[in-house]
């Protein structure tokens, strides 16, 4: 055993559910270390949001114990908890016509007086938070006029202004396009670098694999925990969606329906790695296995590249046909096979 690590948050024996009859996840044992980034994954309705909301103090703990800085959060005053854990919920609901500054200033709530008056230090913290997420140019904008990605960054700035060692985010990359997802992930990564711990749920395995120190998988009422690669070795990903007929493709690090391979085909490589790669991908998608010449059933493909022109030659039953695109090639192959 390595030396005792100082855990920021530790969860022991926690069970989640709606009513006494319905249990979502049983006896969770997990911990969040300082400066760790943790991705929580699982199917829709598996209990991800319930777990996050329970940790954030929105929902009561039914069974088990959650300790933050070695203090039970169930017995904490809401004000104390709000200075330790901040929360950003799923998607976006219409709020009043607040400006970006007004919204982020709500993050200072745990520290302001009865009237919510902002001191100079509070204003400074708000501006720093906006700068951190790259939204300092939008101070006076109305949140309802922002794009989804910008708004999500403002919400993160709000939880940042709350100055908590742990940030919890429920699907922060949902509804965003790819550049925006990466922006959000990078903001969270930068936050982790600044020493905060981040726990977020996601359906985005790319982001989980690329950024997380730990992945928590909720599957079959249980939670599996480990580094992304540990879970890979344990085969956790193969099981995750297996009852939907999805397999985990290790080479491409993604889930998919396993395709039925109908025929084996030989592809003579050209040496242009990009053309070779996309050609074999296209053939695989069409249900062919790319093999060496001696193993092939009937057909061979040659790629010809002259000057700017690229074409594929299919040789089958001693006849040859020439194609100008992979679309035409695979269409004919599917018809012929």
């Amino acid at each position: 055993m390595a030396e005792q690590r100082n855990n920021l948050l530790s969860i022991s024996n926690l069970s989640l559910g709606y009513s006494p009859a319905i249990t979502l996840v049983e006896s969770i044992q997990a911990s969040v270390g300082a400066g760790e980034m943790i991705a929580l994954v699982g199917r829709n309705g598996s209990g991800k949001s319930t777990l996050l909301r329970t940790l954030a103090g929105i929902q009561n703990i039914r069974k088990g114990e959650v300790r933050m800085n070695d203090k039970n959060i169930g017995s904490m005053h809401p004000a104390e908890l709000s200075s330790l854990i901040s929360f950003v919920g799923t998607g976006f609901r219409e709020f009043a016509d607040l400006t970006v500054f007004e919204l982020v200033s709500l993050g200072r709530h745990p520290y302001t007086n009865w009237w919510g008056a902002l001191r100079e230090a509070d204003k400074q913290r708000i501006m720093e938070s906006l700068k951190f997420v790259g939204m300092d140019g939008f101070v006076r904008s109305r949140i309802n006029n922002l794009s989804d990605g910008e708004r999500q960054r403002v919400m993160i700035a709000m939880s940042l202004a709350q100055d908590t060692p742990l940030l919890i985010l429920d699907e922060p990359t949902a509804y965003l396009d790819i550049p925006n997802r990466i922006t959000i992930a990078e903001v969270l990564f930068k936050l982790k670098d600044s020493g905060r711990s981040i726990l977020f749920s996601t359906h985005d395995f790319d982001i989980a694999f690329a950024y997380a120190d730990q992945i928590w998988i909720i599957n079959d009422n249980k939670m599996l925990i480990g580094a992304p690669e540990d879970l890979g070795i344990q085969g956790a990903y193969d099981q995750l969606f297996s009852n939907s007929g999805l397999a985990f493709d290790q080479k491409n690090m993604r889930f998919g329906k396993s395709r039925k391979i109908t025929k084996k085909i030989c592809l003579h490589n050209t040496g242009n790695s990009s053309v070779d790669y996309w050609t074999s991908r296209s053939l695989e998608r069409a249900g062919f296995k790319v093999v060496k010449a001696k193993d092939a059933d009937l057909a061979e493909i040659f790629i010809e590249q002259r000057d700017e022109e690229l074409c594929w030659i299919l040789r089958m039953y001693d006849t040859s046909r020439k194609y100008n695109s992979l679309y035409e090639l695979t269409r004919d192959l599917k018809l012929g096979s």
Binding site: E80, A96, W115, G116
Partner: protein, 329 residues
């Protein structure tokens, strides 16, 4: 905000000067300054009628507008007002019980106090029932629906009482329900001030919680706001404000719904630290303005205040419904 204070001052001065009996402005200053070298009659009109009426208008305007703002914020519904919880219906039932139930055509101080007390008890009972519900029901929208149902139920009971009431009692009830700023003076004005001012102060303590509730109850909770306590504070302050005004002046409509929207439009802010004081001032301005209109300057008639506030308020509400952008929570 400062502009609003000046507008309010101007309106108050205008309102003091207007009336069926013309009193020169210089004389008004002298009377208010406590000098005695003026017409006894003018002094009486001013101190016994106009000034109490204006103070009532100031109290009622700010109280109704503030409770409307609180209701709109806590229910996250732009069409909520001080009466959505059935507070006005409770007060009306109290008044109806005295006016219609007793059957007596008693008049004078006793009856007036009877109405006020009964209306107050009616509003307070509704508030208590709602608070008990609030302790048990988590979902704020459920409470809104219960409040509306409650309100309709009470109105139905009042209708039945009206149906069986005698003509004279019915007329007094109808007059009460038209609302009036002019019936409050002396002791009753003192009592009204003593309830409204603490109610307004209490409303200031709901500002921080309400600001966070704009984001929804989940966020408010994670920001360390005690959602239940905020809700209870809001309901108590609204009940004190709207309940007392209804008890003393009768139901005055649309100030509570319309004024917060006007204030929002004029200040361009949603932060209640600005919006609540602005709404308070705006409510005073609009009710004093309505009071001026109701006296139909230059004529001897006085129109029912409830009709005037409705005529001013309805276009605002229509405008809110039609132009509602994403701008409201």
């Amino acid at each position: 905000m400062i502009l609003l204070v000046f507008v309010l001052l101007a309106l108050v001065i205008l309102d003091v000067s207007l009336g069926t009996v013309k009193i020169p402005f210089g004389e008004i200053i002298s009377i208010l300054g406590g000098k005695n070298d003026v017409s006894r009659q003018h002094q009486l009109i001013l101190l016994e009628f106009r000034v109490p009426r204006i103070i009532t208008a100031l109290l009622a305007g700010s109280a109704l507008a503030v409770s409307g703002l609180q209701m709109q914020t806590i229910f996250r519904n732009p069409l909520a007002g001080p009466y959505v919880l059935g507070i006005s219906s409770g007060a009306s039932l109290g008044a109806a019980l005295v006016l219609l139930g007793s059957g007596a055509i008693a008049s004078g101080i006793l009856l007036n106090w009877g109405i006020v007390a009964a209306a107050w008890i009616g509003a307070a009972s509704v508030m208590l029932i709602l608070l008990l519900i609030t302790m048990r029901v988590r979902n704020i929208m459920t409470i809104l629906i219960l409040g509306i149902m409650f309100s309709s139920g009470l109105s139905a009971i009042i209708s039945i009482m009206q149906y069986f009431g005698n003509a004279a009692a019915l007329k007094s009830f109808v007059i009460w329900s038209l609302g009036s700023l002019g019936d409050v003076s002396g002791t009753s004005l003192a009592i009204l001030s003593l309830t409204i001012i603490p109610g307004l102060i209490l409303s200031l303590f709901t500002v921080k919680g309400l600001n966070a509730l704009v984001l929804g109850e989940e966020y408010a909770a994670t920001l360390g706001v005690n959602v239940m306590r905020t809700r209870i504070l809001v309901f108590i302050s609204t009940s004190i404000l709207a309940g007392s005004i209804t008890a003393f002046c009768g139901p005055i409509g649309f100030i509570g719904i319309a004024v917060p929207h006007i204030a929002r439009l004029l200040t361009g802010r949603s932060d209640l630290r600005y919006l609540l004081p602005a709404t308070m001032l705006m409510g005073m301005c609009i009710l004093v303005f309505s009071d001026i209109i109701s006296q139909v300057p230059g004529s001897e008639r006085i129109l029912p205040i409830n009709a005037i506030t409705s005529l001013i308020g309805i276009p605002v509400v229509i405008w809110v419904v039609l132009s509602r952008r994403k701008s409201f929570s």
